[in-house]
Subunit: 296 residues, 2 copies
């Protein structure tokens, strides 16, 4: 599947997005989904209190003028295989996965008709697929499932699980600066240096447009971690030991950053002026973010 067949947009949100005041991130989701009257689906399956979470988003989107918002309330895999629900979701302009536990989310919707409907909405309908907190982690093929590494990277500190695969070569972490998660992300990436890591701050979104354009919006930053050229002794360590790591590359992309790896004259007019030409490390990050195979 090439870029031209993926007209959709991904919004990877670091959790804690404002829902009562400026609502910058949610407003952007609404815009990317096509506007106030488009059908939107809110998936609360990551949460153990889905009705409470739905209530919060219902109010927030109503405040923003959205008129067609549905709570996708899934409590078991049977719910997620409902053909009528899947058909409805495939017609959505925007699908939003809330926070909770990414393992719960994947165990519930992974491989179901609802998951397939998300891909259809994204690929064929041009929908915006958004996930916040657990919903952000779930976007990856290799999902940061759980783990702690507070004071230093540690061998085995964090576990990967199977995610949704909207982003295949980048591991996402969320609540990144607020929960001081750089060591947790480094622990994962040092073990799998062929992947890149991206840490998303709270009330902040990394947006991946279909046209090789990425953009950071909201209150914080996106931190990219690259161990591809790093030397570490991770393989020689026992679990819990701290690796030596030399030559980790880090990029900090604050809100407002926008980069495209496509030459300016090949970009759609609407974004041509928005983005700067990506310098090589960011062009590679874009390639890692977009180099997926949604049909696998």
């Amino acid at each position: 599947m090439n870029r031209q067949n993926r007209p959709g947009t991904l919004m990877i949100i670091g959790g804690g997005e404002d829902r009562t005041d400026t609502k910058t991130v949610l407003q952007t989701f609404l815009t990317l989904a096509g506007g106030m009257d488009q059908p939107l689906a809110i998936i609360t399956a990551a949460s153990t209190v889905p009705d409470k979470v739905w209530d919060m988003y219902r109010h927030a989107f109503a405040d923003l003028g959205a008129t067609n918002v549905t709570h996708v309330r899934i409590s078991c895999r049977g719910d997620a295989d409902d053909p009528a629900l899947a058909q409805q979701m495939a017609a959505s302009g925007g699908i939003f996965m809330t926070g909770g536990d990414q393992k719960r989310l994947l165990a519930t919707i992974g491989g179901t008709r609802v998951e397939q409907a998300m891909r259809q909405a994204y690929s064929h309908r041009g929908a915006c697929i958004a996930g916040t907190s657990a919903g952000a982690s779930a976007m990856c093929t290799h999902m940061l499932a759980e783990g702690r590494a507070e004071l230093a990277p540690e061998k085995g500190a964090a576990r990967l699980g199977a995610g949704l695969g909207f982003v295949s070569r980048v591991v996402i972490d969320q609540h990144f600066s607020q929960r001081h998660r750089i060591n947790r992300l480094l622990s994962v990436i040092a073990q799998s240096p062929f992947l890149l890591g991206a840490g998303i701050d709270e009330d902040t979104a990394l947006i991946i447009h279909g046209c090789a354009l990425i953009e950071v919006i909201g209150d914080g930053s996106v931190t990219v971690v690259d161990c591809r050229a790093a030397h570490s002794n991770m393989l020689d360590l026992r679990p819990g030991e701290v690796p030596e790591m030399i030559d980790v590359r880090v990029h900090v992309l604050p809100s407002g950053s926008a980069f495209s790896s496509v030459p300016e004259d090949e970009r759609p007019a609407c974004v041509a002026e928005k983005a700067r030409a990506a310098p090589p490390p960011i062009a590679e990050f874009i390639q890692y973010l977009t180099d997926w195979n949604l049909e696998s």
Copy 2:
């Protein structure tokens, strides 16, 4: 002044070193100072409660068997210009600067006979000069004096002041992982990318031997931050804004790391087997740490 004239050792300690249990860091200081009977001087001038701090170290060093420990109690620049005190300190095997406030320490001893005596002890006597917490920050020519940047690097978040100059091209930060100071250090280094940054964890020391050998001991790690090849928009920002930073290089050196940039057959026998050959980024770090001019 070349390396052969600097037989002393530097111990840069990240604060919070154990003083009641294993005392690994303090025991190493005692060894590097020449052993239990060598004259040791404890400078408490960074602290507003010097007698309390002295009491703590007096007990800790007594427990370790040290027999000749002096409290250098300096409360004003006049005290620090006392020729008899300076003469005594120049004959020390080890000089230890405690925590407190690095600005207070420098305002009290900077440019005085006591400071000159520290250089003499280091250069001519081969003393070990150690500093913990504020005492660690004070080691640098460009001293990280104060500042906060918790969730992201920020323009102007931290201030440099004039330090003692035992390390001239590296800015030290302490309590590094415990107080999540990577953004504070990045804020400084992004503004002055011709310097390197080194963050020292609590109960951890970076030891700089005279023979281009560095070593990390204790409980945590040393994190090196290198923005020399990074691109940032720091110059275009207003104070408090978050810079875009691309291609920051980071190295994590856990306890036990030891590197030399001198070929094995040129190293003193005692350290020849201790250290590995430093890979290029660490050899450069060693050069930045040792490339000083103590007479300037």
